[in-house]
Amino acid sequence: MTVELISDQGIAPDARHPEESPLAIRGMTVSYGQKPVVFSVDMTVQEGSMTAIIGPNGAGKSTLLKAALGIVTPLAGQAKVFGKPLRSQRHRIAYVPQRASVDWDFPTRVIDVVLMGLYRELGLLRRVRKTHLDKATSCLERVGMADFADRQIGQLSGGQQQRVFLARALAQGADLYLLDEPFAGVDAATEKAIIAVLKGLRADGKTVVAVHHDLATVHEYFDRVFLINTRKVAEGSVAEAFTPDALDRAYGGRLATAQMDRAAS
């Protein structure tokens, strides 16, 4: 279906059906205290794409995702998911929060975290059956973590924790995957494993949006970018929007510093 839409006289799908974009954000404004973190941002995610949200620290990347998901309440603006209000489309979304946002000392096992992704099926009281366990295990296999199913989550490395989070998102069986800094502080093997899974999702027609920091890997990993620095700076394919000029506007004079930080880490 995606192929047909794109080949339709060269008109981008979101231009023809903006109301059916997996994620369409309009006029989103979020403020913590007095200062807006995200100001009047529009974003239209294309179906079947992999989009990187890029910008300096504190530019509102994570906040934009959280506002779109209803985790933080915006001052203004709205997000539509597949053309409908978020509330009716939650089952089509999988979210991977920042790894550091949870307490990994929490007393639970890897498999239990992945089973949380099946909450919609399990509900309050339904028993966990073998089919659920099999599903969770197969998600762990996809991220190369099946051998760790019975480990306590605190015993994992940062990269392994991130892969468990991704497995939980896979268990949700969603159409739109929103990831907050999936590559932050992970080892090279994990980065490779995660990007392979994400590209597999795209090949299946799913849509992926990730907050991303490493400017060097944007060309290799993503097909679209969204540059933000409180306001939207640029949006489009990597070729159109990921330009030195746009980066300069997003990062201001700080791009050099940002790159040095990256080299150092």
Partner: protein, 308 residues
């Protein structure tokens, strides 16, 4: 000990102690994981003004007005803690400390100003409760457990704390998954459409109900200790929440039974004349269990700290 002595004098205090300990320890597991353990402390302090106000309004110190006053005071406290935390931008622990000391102090002032000299209402009672006094005078032995007339004479506190324990258990059973999920990863739970703030409030309200019911029977020392010690000790025994809950129940029961026996007979074994407060001893035993777990439990060395 024969049933003739044990059933009327020790069975009901023991059961009330056990039920109170478990009713507080169960929600304590989640409060601890949410770094809200101090809430138990806060609630058990703020019930004092609630009880005094209930007395001033109704003029009697009977169970229902007392419990309703205490429950309302806990709700006021919970709302105040949230308000102080958000409006004052103060960390939760400080907001709780501020709220419960202010409300407890207000309760003491009210108590001094009001004419409560004629009734049994004092700070000491609020702290230690009167576990030893909750005896079952109608019982003559084990056979009384089957005698409807004798059963009708059971202390009201026993029925109340038993019902509270059932309510706490049902709440945890039904809300297990949302509680666990929103405690571990609140943002993720919200993306599933869960009202995580309601779940958090429900947990605090259930904890408040447990605290008020237990406070009525055994005083605030047990309440404070049982919210924290058994769950904290249980966390050191295992890395799975389901098993942690089980351990916390075991430790709560153990604290109550051992504490009750030691309070009654410990001083005699040491050659002293008087028994000591059961509530105090139960809380002490729970602290000792926590200390033992901190020294020897299997999961006390954890590598759960963030990797960087």
């Amino acid at each position: 000990m024969s049933g003739v002595e044990f059933v009327p004098l020790s069975l009901t205090p023991l059961l009330i102690g056990v039920f109170s300990a478990v009713a507080c320890a169960l929600p304590g597991n989640f409060l601890l994981l949410r770094r809200q353990a101090l809430i138990g402390d806060a609630i058990s302090h703020v019930v004092l003004p609630g009880i005094v106000v209930a007395f001033l309004v109704t003029g009697v110190v009977t169970a229902w007005p007392t419990m309703i006053g205490a429950a309302l005071a806990s709700l006021v406290a919970v709302v105040m803690i949230e308000a102080v935390r958000r409006l004052g931008r103060i960390e939760p622990g400080a907001a709780m400390g501020l709220t419960f000391t202010a409300m407890f102090a207000g309760g003491v002032l009210l108590l001094e100003q009001s004419d409560t000299s004629g009734v049994h209402l004092d700070v000491e009672h609020a702290l230690y409760g009167n576990l030893e006094a909750l005896i079952w005078l109608d019982a003559v032995g084990w056979e009384s457990l089957l005698d409807p007339v004798a059963l009708a004479g059971l202390p009201d506190e026993l029925l109340r704390i038993a019902l509270t324990l059932v309510a706490v258990g049902v709440f945890l059973w039904v809300c297990w998954r949302p509680l666990k999920l929103s405690t571990f990863d609140e943002a993720f739970a919200q993306t599933l459409g869960m009202r995580t703030s309601w779940i958090g409030l429900a947990l605090v309200v259930v904890a408040a109900i447990a605290a008020v019911a237990a406070f009525d029977a055994v005083g605030s020392i047990i309440v404070i200790a049982m919210f924290i010690c058994p769950p904290a000790a249980a966390r050191l025994m295992t890395n799975r929440l389901e098993i942690q809950i089980t351990w916390s129940v075991v430790f709560a029961v153990l604290s109550a039974v051992l504490g009750y026996i030691l309070a009654g007979y410990g001083p005699l074994w040491l050659g002293l004349d008087n028994a000591v407060s059961a509530a105090g001893m139960i809380a002490t035993v729970s602290g000792l269990i926590l200390a033992a777990c901190a020294l020897w439990a299997p999961c006390r060395m954890r590598s759960g700290a963030p990797a960087q």
